[in-house]
């Protein structure tokens, strides 16, 4: 974020803050659903926005703003869960029916060399890679069908940039399990984009 914009934001500029809400609200909802459930995620994120607004003057800009907001939302979700004495919805088991090997297995020969190597992707910018109209629809379906625990780690680590330490702390999952779940989630996304780039369909 540019220095001028950051200074304006830290001074509590409501227009810039509303822009933040527009850009990050959906990601924060997705981040908290696995911790408090879909019915309470909106309330949790609403409280997180209030806390963020009150603390924005102390945002130093050392981490990405999404990561800073994500940490606030996760803390809010954990607090709400404790207050309401709810069980954590996250489980690092439960996708045993999924292919437990990496999802690209069929693309290698028996000796582990590429049989069906990745296609060449046409990438203009990180912002545009996943947001093309047709791909965005397929991505939405893929995320909806993804096992909750994989989606959860993907949202925390890749969409919000939280550290593995924060993730393990919030979900009581081991770092090694979190890494396995993240690898599976990324692989599904990789396959989706690769197929789309190769065939124009998904």
């Amino acid at each position: 974020m540019e220095t001028d914009k950051l200074a304006q934001l830290r001074s509590g500029d409501p227009v810039l803050f509303a822009e933040l809400v527009r850009d990050h609200h959906r990601a924060l909802i997705a981040l908290t659903v696995p911790i408090v459930g879909i019915s309470e995620a909106e309330e949790v994120v609403q409280n997180a926005w209030l806390k963020a607004y009150q603390a924005i003057g102390s945002f130093a800009g050392k981490s990405a703003i999404r990561t800073w907001l994500g940490s606030i939302a996760i803390n809010e979700a954990k607090m709400q869960r404790r207050q309401r004495k709810r069980e954590l919805l996250f489980s690092d088991h439960g996708d045993e029916n999924q292919n437990t090997e990496d999802g690209l297995t069929q693309r290698f020969t028996e000796r582990g060399h590429w049989q069906h190597p990745p296609a060449h992707w046409h990438i203009d910018s990180p912002e545009s890679l996943l947001t093309g109209e047709q791909l965005a629809e397929c991505l939405e379906r893929l995320l909806a069908a993804m096992p909750d625990n994989q989606r959860c780690i993907l949202e925390m680590r890749d969409a919000s940039g939280l550290s593995f330490e924060e993730i393990c702390n919030a979900l009581t999952v081991s770092a090694s399990n979190a890494r396995v779940l993240l690898h599976r989630a990324r692989t599904q996304l990789f396959k989706l984009v690769d197929h789309y780039e190769e065939t124009g369909e998904c």
């Binding site: 409501p14 803050f17 509303a18 809400v21 527009r22 850009d23 609200h25 959906r26 990601a27 997705a30 609403q46 926005w49 209030l50 607004y53 990405a64 999404r66 990496d102 690209l104 297995t105 290698f108 000796r111 582990g112 060399h113 590429w114 190597p117 990745p118 060449h120 992707w121 990438i123 990180p126 912002e127 890679l129 996943l130 947001t131 965005a136 991505l139 995320l143 993907l154 890749d158 969409a159 919000s160 940039g161 890494r179 993240l182 690898h183 990324r186 996304l189 990789f190 984009v193 690769d194």
Partner: protein, 71 residues
């Protein structure tokens, strides 16, 4: 030498700069020789960079709701 499948399995840690010196050298050596794995790692890196942008922007209604509660 590592197989391509092994490189793919270590690629997440490569991106996070979280590999031992010897594992990093083994992967870098493989990447020098294998254009498919070079492409895989490059595109995985770009995919990971794109994930923070995968969510739609909030609607006006959602933004107003949040801002109303703040003020």
């Amino acid at each position: 030498m590592l197989s391509c499948r092994e490189v793919v399995n270590h690629a997440d840690r490569l991106l996070e700069d979280d590999l031992s010196f010897s594992a990093r050298i083994a992967i870098k050596f493989h990447l020098l020789l294998c254009r498919h794995c070079r492409r895989y790692v490059k595109q995985l890196r770009r995919l990971v960079a794109a994930i923070p942008f995968m969510h739609n922007k909030a609607t006006d209604e959602e933004v107003h709701k949040v801002m109303d509660c703040i003020h």
